[in-house]
Amino acid sequence: MYQWDFGILWGYRWLFLNGLGVTVGFTVVIVLLGLLFGLIAALAMLSRFAWLRGIALTFVEAFRCTPILVQLIWFYYALPILAGVEMTPITASALALSLYGGSFYSEIIRGGIVSIDSGQSEAGAALGMTPRQAMMRIVLPQAIKRMIPALMNQSIIQFKNTSLVSVLAVPDLVYQSQVAAHDSYRPLETYTAVALAYAAILIPLTIIVRRGEKRLAVSE
């Protein structure tokens, strides 16, 4: 029978905390950037111009239909050669994860926008608003409310996806725990603790999302 000894991990607490800080900070960055990319792609997909819709669709499908692990490696090793720019592992992985997240966010945002009754933008137009004003003042504020649960679910997935950046040696929670596991020869304790750390953050978040979904269902 395996003798568990979680006490050993105490010596690595700063390492873990450091890694956790990187993971959380990284998530915040890729969620914000991803939402920005997603909004731009969603508006482009709803554009009057076919060429703009084409570009947006290509972007979304390219990122949705390739594995994120492949994208991370490609952004770090292949893109610098093609584009001629050196990228740090952090830049490459932030860019890849933001674009990957953005491709999923864009579908959520687009769906939210088209779910708003066309009479709303028509009423805006009848008042003399430009399509852009009607989108910003009338449609988006209503659509965002409907999107929030789905956007939060996707952000939770993004939080978990940050664990992949350890393959590029970005010092996140998983990377630091690998260091700790190699050093202590205690991989079982280390990875169990890491799994629990992710769960401890995500379980409260999923409860919040579920409550939000229920409240939204009532208010509509």
Partner: protein, 268 residues
């Protein structure tokens, strides 16, 4: 009534055509509305009357012909460029529209709904816009609902707020697209009352309606449409009480003598 000089004629529509795919909805429509005139468009479903109304503020862009409201004229058809979004928006700001399903903004209070046009489109300072909005809400008798959201209002109240919202743009012309068709019968009167008051103040109005009695009372002229053409156009009482065309007579026979709707079938 057929005077086409710009001084007396607020709306002038010439040879207007519109198709949706292979379905020709408007076939060569001509219509003039005098300044301060009230015109009711009546006709069966699918006759093109709502499309015609939406062509007046270009929510629907015609395929051919021309539309003039006030000083602004647009021509459509081969060889003419479609107006850009800014020009369209500026033009629509001068025409108010009221929709069958109200289309109030549910994320804003009643007051914010009415302020939205002046603030966003006319770039009016908030304090001035609020004063204007309060005056319009008072006019439709709903000032005490200023801080409520549309979801808490009855259908009749919603439509009165929608009218106040359109009036806050201080439009030259008001367009009503079956403004009472979605209302419970007991709520129709309050909305018609507001419309009647507007008409008596000299607002130029085009009203798509199934309220035949109202059209007879309030409109100066009634235009009967069927299958995308104007079948009959004349003084309201003459068209309704003594229609010349068989098609008009057939349509009007669906309504009671009082003008109230029979229980079902007509609005379908």
């Amino acid at each position: 009534m057929s005077d086409t000089s710009k001084d007396t004629c607020k709306i002038e529509i010439r040879s207007l055509r519109k198709s949706f795919g292979s379905n020709e909805v408007l076939k060569n429509i001509n219509l003039d509305v005098a300044k301060g005139g009230v015109v009711a468009l009546i006709g069966p479903s699918g006759s093109g009357k709502s499309t015609l109304l939406r062509c007046i503020n270009l929510l629907v862009v015609p395929d051919g012909g021309s539309v003039r409201v006030g000083e602004t004229r647009f021509a459509f058809g081969e060889g003419t460029k479609l107006p850009d979004v800014k020009t369209l928006a500026k033009f629509r700001a001068t025409t108010g529209m009221v929709f069958q399903h109200f289309n109030l903004f549910p994320h804003m209070t009643t007051l914010q709904n009415v302020m939205e046009g002046p603030v966003t489109v006319r770039r009016m300072p908030k304090a001035d816009a609020e004063k204007l909005a309060r005056a319009q809400l008072a006019k439709v008798g709903l000032l005490e609902k200023a801080y409520q959201y549309p979801a808490t209002l009855s259908g009749g109240q919603k439509q009165r707020v929608a009218i106040a919202r359109a009036l806050a743009m201080e439009p030259d012309v008001m367009l009503f697209d079956e403004a009472t068709s979605a209302l419970d019968p007991e709520l129709v009167g309050e909305v018609l009352g507001v419309m009647q008051q507007l008409a008596s103040e000299g607002m130029t109005m085009v009203i798509v309606t199934h309220e035949i009695a109202f059209a007879r009372e309030v409109a100066g002229r009634v235009v009967f449409m069927r299958d995308g053409v104007v079948v009959e156009d004349g003084p309201a009482r003459q068209v309704i009480d003594a229609p010349r065309e068989a098609a008009t007579r057939a349509f009007l026979s669906h309504f009671h003598r009082t003008g109230a709707l029979p229980p079902a079938n007509v609005t379908s």
